[in-house]
Structure formats: structure tokens, C-alpha cells
């Protein structure tokens, strides 16, 4: 079996690589938590790419029901068809739409199933999936069919910690918390995305970035994805590291701050701080 490691496009820590490999080998769902923008969803994409298999995404919303992941029975269109006298109506199977789990169970090659942001759903949602994820099978009541997984799909579950997940569900998963990367890892990540970036610009930008993350009271701390967006803008506008440094030491908002700060109160706060450093500098 090939082991999952960092690729040219995605940097994983050794801990995360181990977590993924353990989950793949032991056929357990892997629950990933971490700050928004630390690459939780990207992980599933990269894993599927590195295994050369399909990625099935199941994005969870507040209205998502566990049943929708298994299958949906469209009683309404069947009723309609019966009024119109369609022949389809005699086979109930025509009105059963397989969900993501069904797709994953019936896939020929062992797929990666991403259950994205499971905490968005109702509190009971994870409990409703216990048996399905454990035994990898479920029953279709309308047709009496039993759907059993051909091979256990690799299940990656992400959560943003909006709700606590039930214990019984957690017991069945492996758990990994993606920590915010430190400066050197972050530099590696940036180099993966912008191979041609100048060293001085990168280090200056990282300095500004970490300083910003340390500002207390920020509503939304900028994370990796924001940093990448910001760097892209800096490169596009060809802003020099000297400009960046000058702004930083003189106390002004960093150029293109809109990519980093997503909240007008945050912008105001940073402006205020900048004003204060300017005054002290005088």
C-alpha cells in the first residue's frame, strides 16, 4: 500500500500523514478538526488524488438529514406519474435516488468519501449514521434491498467545532486536530503554492501575518487560505518587501488588507493599533 505523504501541492505534517495512513489501513472514519482555512477539505482532495481514486463529497448543511446520504424516495413524483399514467410507476426503484453513501458503497474502486462540516447538521445527525459507518451497510425499506459496501470506503469527516459530536459517534472515528502551522511549515506551504516568490518578500509577509494573528480581539483570525490569497494579491500588484516593511514599521494597514481581514470591526481595530504605534514612534 502506498503511504500518503506531502505532495508538490499539499504539505502534510507527519502526524497528519500517520493519522490518514492509520485510518486507511484500519478502515476507520477519520474526523478532522481545526481552524477554518487549515486545509481540512483539501486533505480529502489530495488523498483521493494520491490514491488515484474518486472523491465523493457530501456537504452537510443545517437541513441535511442522514437519510439523504443513504437514499431518497421521491414519493411525490411517483404520485404525479401515477396520475399521468406513466409506466415507470410500477417499479418503485425508479423513484429511489441513491445518496452519497450508497454511491460510495457501490463504487468499483475504493473511493474517498468526504463528509464535510458535519457539525453544521442537526445534533442527532451523527447518531443516525452510526450503524451505516460502522457496518458499512443499510437497508432500503421501499424495495427491501440490502446495500452492503463492496469495500469499505475511506471516510474523511471534517468539523468546525460548532457543535459537540456525540460520544458514540466519536468512539467509531479516529480523531486528528490540525494545528495552525508554525512559521517554517507555513513557509513550506507558501512555496508549494508560489514557487517563484522572493525570499525577502515571503519572510516579510509572514512576519506581518503572524503579527496580525497575535492581535487580541480579532473576530476572525486570518488563516492559511487567507495568507495565500493575500500573497497572490501582493504578487499581482508586485508590491516590494520594502513597501511592506515600511508600512509595518510606520504603522499603517498592510497593503491589500481586505484579503486578510474579513470584518470591518477587525479593520478598525488594526487601524487603531497602527495609529497607536505611529504615535509611539514619533
Amino acid at each position: 500500500m502506498t503511504r500518503f505523504t506531502s505532495t508538490e501541492r499539499y504539505i502534510v505534517s507527519s502526524e497528519l500523514a500517520l493519522a490518514v495512513n492509520a485510518a486507511v489501513t484500519l478502515e476507520k472514519p477519520l474526523l478532522i478538526k481545526g481552524e477554518p482555512g487549515t486545509g481540512k477539505t483539501r486533505l480529502a482532495e489530495e488523498l483521493a488524488a494520491s490514491l488515484g481514486t474518486n472523491l465523493l463529497r457530501w456537504h452537510i448543511k443545517s437541513t441535511t438529514k442522514a437519510q439523504q446520504g443513504l437514499y431518497e424516495y421521491d414519493a411525490v413524483s411517483r404520485l404525479r406519474d401515477s396520475q399521468l399514467g406513466s409506466d415507470k410507476v410500477h417499479d418503485i426503484g425508479n423513484y429511489i435516488k441513491p445518496g452519497k453513501l450508497w454511491d460510495a458503497f457501490s463504487a468499483v474502486k475504493r473511493p474517498v468519501l468526504l463528509i464535510d462540516e458535519i457539525d453544521k447538521a442537526d445534533i442527532e445527525f451523527p447518531n443516525d449514521l452510526l450503524h451505516e459507518l460502522d457496518q458499512m451497510e443499510f437497508h432500503v425499506y421501499e424495495t427491501g434491498e440490502q446495500v452492503v459496501a463492496q469495500q469499505r470506503p475511506i471516510v474523511i469527516i471534517t468539523s468546525n467545532n460548532e457543535k459537540e459530536l456525540p460520544d458514540a459517534f466519536l468512539r467509531r472515528c479516529f480523531f486528528h486536530y490540525i494545528r495552525f502551522p508554525d512559521e517554517s511549515t507555513l513557509a513550506d506551504i507558501v512555496r508549494v503554492h508560489f514557487p517563484t516568490i522572493r525570499k525577502d518578500l515571503l519572510s516579510q509577509a509572514l512576519e506581518v501575518f503572524f503579527e496580525l494573528r497575535d492581535v487580541p480581539n480579532l473576530k476572525k483570525k486570518p488563516s492559511t487560505s487567507e495568507l495565500l490569497d493575500w500573497l497572490k494579491l501582493l504578487l499581482a500588484e508586485s508590491i516590494s518587501p520594502a513597501d511592506l516593511k515600511e508600512k509595518q514599521s510606520n504603522g499603517g494597514l498592510m497593503p491589500m488588507f481586505g484579503a486578510l481581514l474579513k470584518n470591518e470591526q477587525d479593520v478598525e481595530l488594526v487601524e487603531k493599533l497602527a495609529f497607536m504605534t505611529r504615535r509611539q514612534g514619533r
Binding site: 500517520l18 489501513t25 484500519l26 476507520k28 437541513t63 445534533i123 466519536l170 479516529f174 486528528h176 486536530y177
Partner: protein, 388 residues
């Protein structure tokens, strides 16, 4: 078999179960990691710990267990009398007396080992308070007779313990879900179902009615789903006299958090003044103004105050009465502002109800709350919920 290790992890309060231990053993069997302590650490954490708030406890348990393993070897390789003599040479009369009271050298040595383990934990935590980061803890202490300085070691360890004990201000939400079903059941009464949002559910009776009106031609009607639309705002008193009730508050908090979708919580100290806060570590920097609170959360929120209301009466009635800062307006004014905005409000008091009459301040708060103060018991919560 790792049973000892597993028990140690549980001792430290990580809720790991046998299933998880079997997972870990299974993972080891499939040789995902081999003879690599760091990889083993990651793997054990991956399988046994299911929430990042437990990472710290797991780290401590891990360090404790594996230091224990190392320590046995080293402790045995040192002649006991050799240690003993060097100890006594360095002990003052006072310490010797203390030594006796601790139950002799044997006990002290045990304690010494314990502290050694503690020291290792600190290292693992990255707090290099001994100042010799990078070297092994045993090297740092030095087992050369002159190197053992029990007095110094003791005080250092005490300081460490103090850092540990700092957790008294830790956020309640980082603590475990205590699975108190009774509280949850009591809270369950606080449900106001409302149909809001997109119409996704088939409204059967309306569909039948509409269909028959059309003479049998299918006419589908939908309605929005039912949700628990209740909104709850909780303010917790932390620190000081509330420390005795931390356990009860944790239980309540865990239950509340899993029960309500629209839940906001803040902390205060003793009485409400102009600011409340969300995280206790940064209570000074990250204060949230009560005016903002009043303006942010509409009056359809139900307000639950949790506190023992045990304080000096001046903390409620006079400006400048707060024990922590100078407050321009008395706590009473702030409380009344809150009550004006949130007519549905209650105060839960963890103090046993029988003691209430001994505290003048409890009486005052009760008056301000118009008697809506309830003890923090399952029964009290049930009564309180009825008030909401």
C-alpha cells in the same frame, strides 16, 4: 498490552473506552508504526483522544507514564544510602523536621519521584522553567550527590503546581460533557417549536385538502420544518466563591450546550457591571460591553444568570463597589438594564437553598430578580424553566 498506559490516560481524565484501546492495539498490530516513540505518541493520541481539549491531559498522562518507565531503571541504579546521605547533608533542621512529618525519607523519595515526573511534564509542555532545556530531566537535576538540591527542587515544583492550579479560571466549555441526562431532560422542556425557514416538508393534510378541492388533481402543499427556536443567553459567574461549584456549573454548561442551537454565553465576576467576557484567560483584554450585549441579542432571548450571588452588598448597590475595578454605576443598575431587555430571565444559584437567608446579597439579588432565583438542582432547573 498497554493496559497500564490506558488506565493512566483515563486517570488523567481522558474519556477513552475499551473500543478505542482495541483500535490502538489493532493499529499497532498492523504495524503502522514500529519502534518509534513519537509515532506511537501520535497514534495513541489519534485513537484514544477524540477532542482537542483533551490533548493537554493526554500529553500529561503520556509523559507521566513513560517517565515512570524510565524512572524505575534510574532510581534502582542509584544506591539508596548514597542518596540518603546526600539528602541529609543538604537539609536544614527545618526541612528535616518536615521530612519526619512527611513520613520519613521513603515517602519523601516517592514524592521526589513524583515531582520528577511533574518536571518532565513541564518539559513536554515546553515550559523550560528549570533553565536547562534540551537536556534530559535527570541530567537537569543531576544525580551527582552535590547536584540534588531538594529545597530548590521543592519550591520549583510548588511553583509548577501553582501554574497547574491556575486552571481554576479555565473555561467551562473546555471541560467534559458529563452526560447528565437529568439536566438535559429538565432543559428539554425549554423548547418552543416553530416552523421557520424554507418549506421542505410535505404538508399532508393541506395537500389532501387542496387535492380534493381540485377534484382529485394532485396539488402539493409544503410547509417549513419544525425547529427548536428558543434562544438562550447564559451569563456565568466565575472565580472567587464560585470555585466550589465548578462541577455543577460544568454539568449545566455541558447539558445546555448540547441542547440549544441559539446559545450565547458570557462570564462575569460576582455581579454584572459594564463588561462581560467570553474567555477567562483574556478577561482583561477581551471585554464585551454589556450595552453591546443588550443591542446584539434581541429581547426574544431568554436570560439565565448562574452565580452564587454571595458578595458584599456594596458590590450590588454602590458605584465603585466591584472587587476588581472601579465601576461607574452600581451592579443593580446593570442588572435592571438586563431585566428590562430580557423579561424572561432567571437566576440559578448553586448555593444550597437552605443557606440563602444567611447572605444579605442573595436577598438583594432575589429582590432585583423579582424572586426568580432557583437552586442549581434538577428540581430547581425544572421550576426555573417553567418561569421562562
Amino acid at each position: 498490552m498497554l493496559i497500564q498506559f490506558f488506565l493512566k490516560v483515563r486517570d488523567y481524565g481522558v474519556p477513552a473506552s475499551i473500543t478505542e484501546l482495541l483500535d490502538l492495539l489493532g493499529a499497532l498490530e498492523s504495524q503502522i508504526v514500529f519502534a518509534d516513540i513519537e509515532a506511537f505518541y501520535s497514534l495513541a493520541r489519534l485513537t484514544l483522544v477524540k477532542d482537542e481539549t483533551y490533548y493537554d491531559r493526554f500529553d500529561r498522562a503520556f509523559a507521566d507514564y513513560f517517565e515512570g518507565v524510565n524512572e524505575v531503571d534510574i532510581a534502582q541504579s542509584i544506591p539508596a544510602e548514597w542518596l540518603e546521605r546526600s539528602l541529609q547533608r543538604q537539609l536544614s533542621e527545618e526541612e528535616k523536621a518536615k521530612l519526619q512529618s512527611l513520613g520519613g525519607l521513603e515517602a519523601l523519595l516517592d514524592q521526589f519521584r513524583e515531582r520528577l515526573a511533574e518536571q518532565q511534564k513541564r518539559h513536554a509542555g515546553g515550559n523550560k522553567w528549570i533553565g536547562t532545556g534540551g537536556t534530559s530531566p535527570f541530567g537537569a537535576y543531576g544525580f551527582h550527590p552535590e547536584g540534588i538540591r531538594i529545597g530548590q527542587e521543592g519550591s520549583n515544583a510548588r511553583r509548577a503546581v501553582k501554574v497547574w492550579d491556575k486552571r481554576e479560571f479555565k473555561d467551562l466549555d473546555s471541560d467534559e460533557e458529563l452526560n447528565n441526562r437529568t439536566i438535559k431532560l429538565a432543559l428539554r422542556k425549554l423548547r418552543r417549536f416553530a416552523r421557520t425557514g424554507a418549506a421542505t416538508e410535505l404538508d399532508l393534510s393541506e395537500t389532501i385538502r387542496a387535492t380534493s378541492r381540485q377534484g382529485g388533481l394532485l396539488d402539493l402543499r409544503y410547509q417549513p420544518e419544525r425547529h427548536n427556536a428558543v434562544k438562550v443567553l447564559i451569563l456565568f459567574d466565575v472565580g472567587g466563591s464560585m470555585d466550589d461549584y465548578i462541577y455543577e456549573c460544568q454539568q449545566l454548561f455541558a447539558a445546555v450546550r448540547s441542547e440549544f442551537k441559539h446559545l450565547e454565553f458570557f462570564y462575569f465576576h460576582n455581579c454584572i457591571y459594564e463588561g462581560v467576557w467570553k474567555t477567562n484567560q483574556r478577561r482583561q483584554q477581551e471585554q464585551f460591553s454589556v450595552f453591546d450585549l443588550l443591542h446584539t441579542y434581541g429581547s426574544d432571548y431568554k436570560l439565565i444568570l448562574v452565580g452564587d450571588a454571595t458578595m458584599g452588598p456594596y458590590e450590588i448597590a454602590y458605584p465603585g463597589g466591584s472587587v476588581e475595578h472601579w465601576n461607574e454605576e452600581p451592579g443593580q443598575v446593570w442588572l435592571e438594564r438586563l431585566l428590562d431587555q430580557y423579561p424572561k430571565a432567571i437566576w440559578l444559584n448553586p448555593q444550597p437553598q437552605a443557606h440563602w437567608r444567611y447572605y444579605h446579597s442573595i436577598d438583594m439579588i432575589r429582590q432585583i430578580m423579582h424572586g426568580r432565583m432557583f437552586p442549581l438542582t434538577v428540581h430547581g432547573i425544572t421550576d426555573a424553566i417553567e418561569q421562562l
